[in-house]
């Protein structure tokens, strides 16, 4: 079994299609582990993994922490504020400090784009980008691909509508290029006020209303609307957003019968997704959460040379 071509999980662009498939395949076996009563492997015993979360996060951090612990790594959480002016220490110094403590892998969540790259330049450890600003969130894309593959049996050839605040979404920033790498067709859907300047650069087609494309979709991926900063600008109201871009029973009727509905969580019920849809069997939101642990286990295992140690054992 060959390893990853990349030293870090930084951006989807840095990964090959083979890297992505290797992680997904490896995650399949870890998913099976997660269904056992004793959900623990000795694989990364003695390795130190730091979850450096410089932006508030509960779900993602918990997912990484569980993943590390199920592989028997020593997982340490480090939280704080992203801005050096607040925290009093630059990211560079934080990186050098962690390096001096001989950490093997750093998972970093940061408010600003590019921070994980900078961290990696300042230290020897492997880095997993746990989400940086509006840039990328590659493990989210991997767990989404894992879920799509399990639900639909394939990724290639599928049409995936990603609906909502594309401009501020690191989820879309990773998922669009990841889908392209595996031969799917991503369409980003939303009003132009929620679009990045050049969605074509990421490899996506653009639709300005959901009803224009709903019938073509194999997957509807509903992004979370940041309710506290949406009304007035970039949206007139959440009510209008829900009417034109929300996933509800009527839209589900118009869609292909096998279309699945995804959401990275946490959901705003009644805004981007109605309660009826969220609780229906078409929604795979909890499958995504479940996949998250397995995919993150796979990423950690492959980055830390678990393949060789497992083969030796």
């Amino acid at each position: 079994m060959s390893g990853l071509s990349c030293e870090h999980i930084m951006t989807v662009e840095d990964m090959t299609a083979e890297d992505i498939e290797l992680i997904l395949d490896t995650a399949e076996s870890f998913k099976e582990v997660n269904e056992r009563r004793i959900k623990k492997l000795p694989t990364l015993r003695g390795r130190t993994i730091v979850n450096l979360f410089l932006e508030p996060s509960t779900r993602t951090r918990t997912s990484f922490e569980i993943a590390a612990k199920r592989l028997s790594a020593d997982a340490v959480n480090m939280t704080g504020s992203a801005s050096a002016t607040v925290k009093g220490e630059s990211l560079r110094d934080t990186a050098k400090t962690l390096s001096a403590m001989a950490c093997d892998l750093i998972v970093v969540r940061h408010r600003y784009a590019g921070a994980p790259q900078y961290l990696a330049e300042c230290m020897d450890a492997h880095v997993i980008n746990g989400g940086d600003g509006m840039h990328q969130h590659p493990t989210q894309a991997l767990l989404d691909l894992f879920t799509i593959r399990r639900e639909m049996g394939r990724i290639e050839g599928l049409t995936v509508g990603i609906v909502g605040d594309i401009c501020h979404s690191r989820v879309a920033g990773s998922l669009v290029p990841a889908l392209r790498k595996l031969g799917a067709r991503p369409i980003v859907v939303g009003p132009p006020t929620l679009m990045p300047a050049r969605p074509d650069i990421l490899g996506a087609e653009v639709a300005n209303t959901l009803d224009d494309v709903i019938g073509e979709l194999d997957v509807a991926y509903m992004l979370r609307i940041q309710m506290e900063r949406a009304e007035g600008m970039p949206l007139p109201s959440l009510r209008e957003y829900a009417r034109f871009y929300g996933m509800n029973s009527a839209r589900l009727e118009a869609a292909k019968p096998e279309m699945i509905v995804m959401h990275p969580g946490p959901m705003n019920r009644g805004v981007e997704i109605s309660s009826a849809v969220a609780d229906s069997d078409r929604a795979v939101v909890l499958d995504q959460v479940n996949a998250g642990v397995a995919v993150r286990m796979a990423a950690m295992y492959l980055l830390l040379g678990g393949a060789e140690s497992a083969a030796a054992a």
Binding site: A82, S83, A84, T85, S90, L91, R92, H110, Y112, A113, G114, A115, Q117, Y118, D132, G133, M134, H135, Q136, R170, G173, P196, A197, R198, P199, I201, L202
Partner: protein
């Protein structure tokens, strides 16, 4: 001591000069230009064979950081960087701490430059008090103390009515208004060009339109008020086009472009290197080409460095929070020689037009010509000098250069300010 610049290619299109000749400097002035000149006893000879002797270069856009951020640059270090880069004069921007918005603040810069400056320093005063865009600054006082122009550089006056009053008032004192064209509601916290690069890197975009709408507004206000307007650091093709049209219509405007916008484009930012974060941001390759074309055809009047020194610990932050700006005084001439002169796009008379004559004309500074009786502000460039842009090469106190590591060809070897040699054999000697 009399000085003879011997055997250089002496270039000054103002007096129709482009020939190998000697330049004799006596008592701070040019005594004569020609061959077989009669030398006073004790004349020191500087060999200039294979070099180019030109009227002294001026940078109309320098951030000196003194007062307030002397850890980043001082008038002493900044003027040495200027001399090292081949400039005989710089215009000091007013966004210091405190802001240079009063006569006494201008006088401080003038006096400090007299005490410690290696080259001339022309202060630029703030357009509005504290550069807040709310109240007129005391421009009359500042002119009386030596301010040569006014600018809120770093920001634009956001309110159009206020900008109109600013221009009207500046006109009373014959002063040029230097506009940093940026609509803050459109730039909206952007840190890189809006487009492919902002999308790819997930960084907030600063669209070309945020500059171009203010270029349009400011040109119309110059037309309305009759105030002389100079547009700082143009970065887009659309801005160049508007300047071209305005000049055809006879509106009194001039414009500058910075070396980083001439020689780099947005693709360079892909590494998240904060030394490439500037305001306005690096634009597309098409914009870059339009800026070069505008400089070559005279639409853009001059090259200006926007020398913006920053402390290392501030540039070592995340891209979105690091300060804007690159140093530029020392790399400008090598970049122009390497990218434009050596490539045959520019000849030396064009260099004089864009780095010596143009800058002075933009702000109405005293002219300098290579002829008898003129002040001896002279720049000598060695086109074959090799430059490697390394940390120890800079005279500036700050190292935040967008061109760090570059290998360039061509550098100032001598700089004379009022006949005094401040750069000799490429080394600052004051």
């Amino acid at each position: 001591m009399p000085l003879l610049l011997r055997g250089g290619r002496v270039v000054d299109p103002q007096v129709g000069l482009d020939e190998v000749a000697d330049v004799l400097v006596v008592d701070g002035r040019i005594d004569s230009v020609g061959s077989d000149l009669e030398l006073p006893s004790g004349t020191e000879v500087i060999e200039c064979a294979e070099k180019v002797v030109m009227p002294g270069f001026v940078d109309v856009h320098t951030h000196m950081r003194e007062p307030g951020r002397e850890d980043e640059e001082t008038i002493a270090s900044g003027t040495r960087a200027a001399a090292h880069g081949g400039f005989t004069a710089v215009c000091a921007m007013p966004n210091t701490s405190p802001v240079c918005d009063t006569g006494s603040a201008v006088r401080f810069v003038v006096e400090r430059a007299e005490e410690v400056g290696a080259v001339r320093v022309y202060p630029v005063g703030a357009l509005t008090q504290g550069q807040r865009g709310e109240a007129l600054s005391e421009m009359g006082d500042m002119v009386a103390e030596g301010a040569v122009a006014f600018s809120d550089d770093g920001r634009d006056v956001q309110d159009a009515g206020m900008m109109r009053r600013v221009m009207e008032y500046a006109k009373a004192f014959g002063a040029t208004v230097i506009a940093h064209c940026e609509d803050e509601s459109l730039a909206a916290g952007g840190v890189v060009n809006e487009g492919a690069i902002s999308t790819r890197l997930g960084l907030p975009g600063w669209p070309s339109a945020a500059e171009e709408t203010m270029v349009a507004r400011n040109i119309r206000l110059a037309e309305l008020t009759g105030c002389r307007l100079h547009l700082a650091h143009l970065s887009t093709a659309g801005s160049v086009e508007q300047v071209r049209i305005a000049k055809e219509r006879g509106i009194p405007i001039t414009a500058e472009v910075a070396p980083h916008h001439l020689f780099l484009d947005e693709q360079a930012v892909i590494s998240y290197d904060t030394n490439l974060k500037m305001n306005p941001p690096l634009r597309t390759a098409e914009d870059r080409k339009a800026l070069v074309a505008g400089l070559l055809d005279g639409t853009v009047d001059c090259v200006a460095t926007d020398h913006a020194p920053h402390a290392a610990h501030e540039k070592e932050l995340e891209f979105e929070v690091a300060p804007f700006g690159t140093t530029g005084l020392e790399t400008a001439v090598p970049l122009v020689v390497t990218n434009l002169v050596s490539e045959g796009q520019m000849d030396w008379p064009d260099v004089v037009r864009t780095m010596a004559v143009g800058p002075r004309a933009c702000l109405g500074l005293p002219e300098v010509r290579l002829e008898a009786g003129q002040t001896a502000d002279i720049t000598v460039v060695d086109p074959e000098a090799r430059v490697e842009v390394t940390a120890d090469w800079f005279a500036s106190k700050s190292l935040n250069s967008a061109f760090a590591g570059a290998k360039l060809l061509g550098k100032a070897s001598e700089v004379l300010v009022a006949g005094q040699c401040v750069l000799r054999n490429g080394k600052v000697i004051v």
